[in-house]
């Protein structure tokens, strides 16, 4: 059933383009990175034209991801500041995972889980970038000593694994909470989605007399 009703813009065009550049880079980095991490996944390097290409492309994709993610930080940091509400939400996590939404306290624009994804990546991506520079053999192989590079490669692997785990949580949550993916592809959510998942955010938007730009007709 399609409604000819009002919907709410959750992510602007800039938000979405920036997000998906980051996402594409992240997926490419996971594939090329894992190919160099475990022998059983070396076949993934064929997606990049072989091991030499995967090794050569990986750091450049990393640079694009860092720049792209900086854009996301600029756009999203304010809405991810942690509040008292987030503690309440975390305490009700068992109702969150069992879809028992009535018992979860009302949430603003982002819930504590979304904030954790944001801040985890904000921490991990610079760690991955700088540890990655140290082990970028072609340009920085001689810049640091081998013991430093050994530490960097260990840190890089651990941070990458952590980032992949955060990413799995992020992707699954987007699939699990129906129509979240649409908010990041087409940009909008329905009032019912906002009521169910981000009630405080909906109430703030509704009570704001001045800014009506977030409402539009459903396409």
């Amino acid at each position: 059933m399609t409604r000819e009703k009002t919907v709410i813009v959750r992510y602007t065009t800039l938000n979405r383009v920036n997000h998906w550049i980051t996402a594409i880079c992240f997926v490419l980095l996971v594939l090329s990175g894992l190919s160099m991490f475990h022998p059983m996944l070396f076949f993934l390097s064929e997606l990049f034209g072989g091991g030499q290409w995967a090794r050569a492309a990986h750091p450049w994709i990393g640079i694009v991801l860092l720049i792209s993610y900086l854009g996301l930080i600029v756009q999203f940091w304010r809405e991810n500041l942690v509040h008292k509400d987030d503690v309440e939400w975390m305490k009700s996590i068992k109702y969150v995972v069992t879809n028992d939404d009535q018992r979860v306290p009302p949430v603003g624009r982002n819930n504590a889980g979304q904030k954790m994804v944001f801040w985890s990546m904000t921490l991990l991506i610079p760690v991955l970038f700088f540890s990655g520079l140290v082990i970028w053999e072609v340009y920085f192989g001689a810049a640091t000593s081998i013991p430093v590079q050994r530490a960097a490669v260990l840190i890089h692997s651990l941070a990458a694994i952590a980032a992949i785990l955060v990413w799995i949580v992020h992707v699954y949550a987007a699939i699990w909470i129906r129509n979240s993916v649409r908010s990041m592809t087409q940009g909008y959510v329905t009032p019912g989605w906002a009521w169910r998942h981000h009630r405080k955010w909906l109430q703030e938007l509704a009570s704001d007399q001045h800014d009506k730009s977030v409402f539009r007709k459903r396409p």
Partner: protein, 308 residues
Amino acid sequence: MSDLQSQDYVRRSASTMTPPMARSHEDQVAKLIDVSRCIGCKACQSACMEWNDLRQDIGHFEGSYENPMDLSPNVWTLMKFAEYENEQGNLEWLIRKDGCMHCEDPGCLKACPAPGAIVQYANGIVDFISDKCIGCGYCEKGCPFNIPRISKKDHKSYKCTLCSDRVAVGMEPACVKACPTGAIMFGSKADMKHQAAERIVDLKSRGFENAGLYDPQEVGGTHVMYVLHHADKPSLYSGLPDKPRISPMVGAWKGVIKPLALMGIALAALGGFFHWITAGPNEVTEADEEEGERVLREGAAHEPEKTS
């Protein structure tokens, strides 16, 4: 080097399967370098260049007998000169032929992510199969002796092959053949140890009471061994490691973390899948839509109601 002998691998990088190792009834070989007999003539360096068709770019004089100054993709062995003033106040010129030690437990091979780019033959030689190398530099991190060098031209890692091509057809390595004083010897590892033992007795009788064999057990022994006059202090010889071992950081990275990480990633993905199967998707209901639309209508109609 080349991939001539593909049926006598005992170790193969980045491989979870047993390598083809049928032709493993082979003696362990070793090169023995008797530092006390070396005169620093660099014939071994020249022979290595000659046999392996390597030419390093001409450099500049840096005030040292060392020439070139470091190993490189084109310099697989290098004479290193150390001046040591002993307890009696006498100068000792300690000259060591540096190069791959061909560890029994090779750190380079352990660190390598490219399947089959580093192999160990049944005779103990550790060899780089260059066309499989991806140029990542992990071997440099794995090596306890700081030996492999990555070429900026072809992005491949290079080091001494122990002349695996010559050894395969029953010849000794080029450096051994060229050495004018017999300081470099080659044969079965057992024979070389025996040879070293005789030499050490001789050195001790001449007053080098700490003379000994360098065959570090921390890496399972090596297939290039030294007779040192000061075996108690290997680091005197231009930084030869006293206790070489694969770094624990490399050990963790290539040991427990690899399988644990894959299991963790798989469990996270499976966790998501089974959450979907059990708890199921969180769908917006018709009632939610009505409530949401009511909030929008009322919000537009009334004064903003502050939500804390």
